[in-house]
Subunit: 367 residues, 4 copies
Amino acid sequence: MAGNSIGKEFVVTTFGESHGNVIGVVVDGCPAGLPLSENDFQEELDRRIPAEPKIVSARVEKDVAKILSGIFNGFTTGAPITLIVENKEMKSSDYEVVKDLPRPGQADYPARVRYGGFNDYRGGGRFSGRVTVALIMAGTIAKKLLSRYNVDVLAYTLAIGGIKSEKHFSSAEIRKNRNIAATRCPDLICAEKMEQAIVEAKKEGDSLGGIVECVAVNMPVGIGEPLFDALDADLAKALFAVPAVKGVEFGVGFAAARLRGSENNDAYVSNDGKVSTFTENAGGILGGLSSGMPILIRAAIKPTPSIAKEQNTVNMCTLENTTLSVKGRHDPCIVPKAVPAIEASVAITLADHMIRSGYIPRVLKEH
Amino acid sequence: MAGNSIGKEFVVTTFGESHGNVIGVVVDGCPAGLPLSENDFQEELDRRIPAEPKIVSARVEKDVAKILSGIFNGFTTGAPITLIVENKEMKSSDYEVVKDLPRPGQADYPARVRYGGFNDYRGGGRFSGRVTVALIMAGTIAKKLLSRYNVDVLAYTLAIGGIKSEKHFSSAEIRKNRNIAATRCPDLICAEKMEQAIVEAKKEGDSLGGIVECVAVNMPVGIGEPLFDALDADLAKALFAVPAVKGVEFGVGFAAARLRGSENNDAYVSNDGKVSTFTENAGGILGGLSSGMPILIRAAIKPTPSIAKEQNTVNMCTLENTTLSVKGRHDPCIVPKAVPAIEASVAITLADHMIRSGYIPRVLKEH
Amino acid sequence: MAGNSIGKEFVVTTFGESHGNVIGVVVDGCPAGLPLSENDFQEELDRRIPAEPKIVSARVEKDVAKILSGIFNGFTTGAPITLIVENKEMKSSDYEVVKDLPRPGQADYPARVRYGGFNDYRGGGRFSGRVTVALIMAGTIAKKLLSRYNVDVLAYTLAIGGIKSEKHFSSAEIRKNRNIAATRCPDLICAEKMEQAIVEAKKEGDSLGGIVECVAVNMPVGIGEPLFDALDADLAKALFAVPAVKGVEFGVGFAAARLRGSENNDAYVSNDGKVSTFTENAGGILGGLSSGMPILIRAAIKPTPSIAKEQNTVNMCTLENTTLSVKGRHDPCIVPKAVPAIEASVAITLADHMIRSGYIPRVLKEH
Amino acid sequence: MAGNSIGKEFVVTTFGESHGNVIGVVVDGCPAGLPLSENDFQEELDRRIPAEPKIVSARVEKDVAKILSGIFNGFTTGAPITLIVENKEMKSSDYEVVKDLPRPGQADYPARVRYGGFNDYRGGGRFSGRVTVALIMAGTIAKKLLSRYNVDVLAYTLAIGGIKSEKHFSSAEIRKNRNIAATRCPDLICAEKMEQAIVEAKKEGDSLGGIVECVAVNMPVGIGEPLFDALDADLAKALFAVPAVKGVEFGVGFAAARLRGSENNDAYVSNDGKVSTFTENAGGILGGLSSGMPILIRAAIKPTPSIAKEQNTVNMCTLENTTLSVKGRHDPCIVPKAVPAIEASVAITLADHMIRSGYIPRVLKEH
């Protein structure tokens, strides 16, 4: 059993359900001496909810992080840090009608079997995308920690509903534009089209998926463990923990399957004694270890399973075939909300490995 | 540090290097009462080396598994099972010349930094594809265990060098054809083309990548843990531990990013009280739990990094730019060798979760 | 780093500091279907504070458990259960004066070094005995779970300040008498003497230690794992996590060192087909596995380190020798408070192993 | 299941059975750059078998360590180190007669239940004291690693059969005398008496227990993790994994239960800016963290359960009462053999925590 923790030395344990009292997280293993306050979490939590009402669920909560433990005099102490966000905007009655009708594409059916029907089914309960609020809080700590070592993690929307940005943007541009675009795509022209596509799908009672890309720069060389705790293996595990992720790839990823070795290999070059590579096809990871080049990851996000369109399903009590139109308040596209969750998952994993490697010490010296 | 173990209750620890004495594995947590002998491993180990010399490395070893512990009177005892295969066909001298010249696309450079130059660089050492021999031995045990519960795991080549099979095959056909085709592709017409493409690339001192697909049928519903120990998260972690994997996807995978919810959702249907789905887009996993439908995974394998073609690199001692042509004996395409490794990784992860869930007990009753 | 979690399948993570906002716990891996409400914790939390003001600290808090997650419709859901108790009766000013003067016998000095001075030193912070409130909440769940399988865990005071009970009591007597005696010793005549000894020590600005005994009956045979995850190994680990424990022994324990094999061995006897032993010297564990006989553990509790008597110490800023008289509000004997903490630690460990073994399933059927 | 590994960053996995092919160990997480050869293990393995035939089992094996992986050019590489010792002097026929008659005090009975009768019962199989050979090999690596940081771990016999040494000896004396005395007691007068007592017990077909003490000096301050991964908690867990250990205590241990706080507390003193304590009652650990003072541990070892004297037992097939006289070749006192095993367990745990804390880096610089 268990399974709600990740990490070996920067250990993140999440708790809470969509319609329970709180969503929360315990971060155990954060080095002592990191300045941290409740305010640090607000920007990150706000970024989860796009400001454009046309493309988001009607359940809009102002999430406010509350620190329960681990901070003293404005610094981390080395003790476990606990954070909660209260749930407020619940409309649990929406779910009573579908209690016995598993929604296609959601965890309802296997969860019902797995937990013998005792699971909190309201809003998907523990399987709701809302649990990513916990990831985002832990990720905020991880990013603050990484930033002291100049490691910068940045996620953004690459594609939605088949509309894909092909342009390259600098970190600064990404950071700026993803706050402008409700879809979190730094290519503002694409972003506009994506938004229209989402509105269109919503009108038809349908939903869209997409691809989130995440880049991490300035990683030192040699972070990661061989084989099973490979950096890419642990990053992939963390990403698949984000609901709706159906694929993960590094660097050129699946396209590598069609390349030749001579095309795919990143040849080395030395500039003034600094080793780098001409190309960046590997996504910054070789043999499970960071190569010092930017880490590049893409995650495929499936379209929101909860849609107004009528779908076939089965009544779990009677085992009779029936149909279902999911009412509730759902995002017609969860890609924008997945962006900060994926950024958080990557940051959490990198922080864990930086600590494991001894690169980040257990007490941070004053910078 | 550490990182050479995977699993929580069926724990696989591998050891050994490409040019060391042995490749070995300890499997801790295998239930007592499973019949097991050294012969059980031979077919699996043999399957790693395609019989067609045109498409494989000149280093062809007859790998023979030796049991060091954990078996008594022909049955597993519940104690850790240790298996080794001796390394024989080493030509370590091949590697002296490239000791200070990291091969592009290999782990040489980050490993040198990570281990301060103490790592065994011969043949990639611990980062060699040869370590998958350990995976295959552990996977053999996992598959025997799963087969008692009717769970069948089957991997095969889907694509090589851009040649992709689009036909569907039954389990029986796959099992038969992948033994006929040196490329392990069940579509024998495609397999022929793949073989030619490999021979072509080899001639040019180059290499090819591809895609391996793996299917697991008859999984019970509800296996997996929520969130971080999600079944897909743990499968992905295990797959990225196989050298050369650059992407992993479930069901329709990255294609889901372009679908609408109404297209992507697998609607439920009840036939004589048995719940199943019309489509199988989710790859048999919802919310990190098995749905009872076939688990479908694809892994992208990059082209072999070691190629005869000249490549740019840097001398690590002098930090001067130079070039390198990898001599050694390398497979022009590692996809066929990746097939049993991926099958093993999937089987190991499923076995671990079946035990964690309590579905497989700690003592197997006589069937 | 990390270190605030215990267990493999029933995973307990604690958080909070003596003078922080809360003491809390996340229990991950509790099977679904266990009836649980906030009321269940009250009796256990109350039992931590003896009603006799003469022998306890002046800091008396009415601790009330609040459920944050994991319960739905009165039952556990299989999701992580989070519980908090708010801290109220803090007088943090007591600690400013001793901020730089480590109290002998407390964690102050190594914690200051370990956390670079960032640790919350108020009331010992994370190292306070108050963190056992989290253990007790988790232990309450573990005991409810175990009781469904008839496993009963019972701790009580065996000795305080050299006064030791030599009489044997039934479970029912222990349960009744330990509620009568503020010292939690079921031998009420001894209990009276212990109380007097504590009052005496308190008057002199001093403190007393003692021994807590814990018995667990009706454990099935064969629970535990070989070698490193031996049942006694994990029980000992859990017990040493209780502040002030300096020794742990099973069955006759250290006395076994003076016995002969023929005296120490518990010979087997069969009564109507039921195997048991004539004696119970092994404490119910052989080779790390439960033998089916009562598990018997004793833990040595050191005297409260915080005493009013003047002690030598060193000013950590100036490194000058000085003296210290600990003011604050301290228990002259922490043995009574250790009793429920030790009972909880034992129950948590047994529940974890019962789940690991598959004896307790992941969904509890209605009994 | 599982359970044959210990440690978080210096991970020791053991395998092998008393009458199997080998006893072996995988050490994962040893930093790269430690000089290591097969010779390093010989002295340690030899020390396990006292040279005095009067007090040891007739099964005397010259154990020779063979390195299977992890060493290259005479140094550790950072890859998992695997070591085996072949079993040779087996007389498995001794055990056929007692197959169904569980030996009192051994794991036979619970192991039979736990493993459904599939366990290798010959010589106790996985539960034999012979598995400590694996511990000793791993401990040899841990001690070499610790010695580079001046941490010295030293175990010796304190008491056997009620004969207890009360004298204090220097590390140098202990090291010298424990090699002279077959009982491993540095007090040579006591050692002589102990030897006679063992001979006496053996004559009567009986056995003796005792106490092993272990001291570790020069530990830095602040090593360990709070609460559950406390240094004492992890040391105790490791010690209880040594067969026959029934009690563990630190510093004054159980005697602390009878002391007052003013007697038990180790008051601080500063000498030329170096902080130490007047007394060493705490055994070098406070709040689960090392205090910089010598770590002092004692483990109670029960008398060898296998004795020639007739004992009551039950036939597991017929469930009839019967008697048993254990033939085989057994040590009349296992305390001398437990000495290096306990030293190894302590060293393994300290090395793991030194690495976890970041004090020992992942690549050792040339000293």
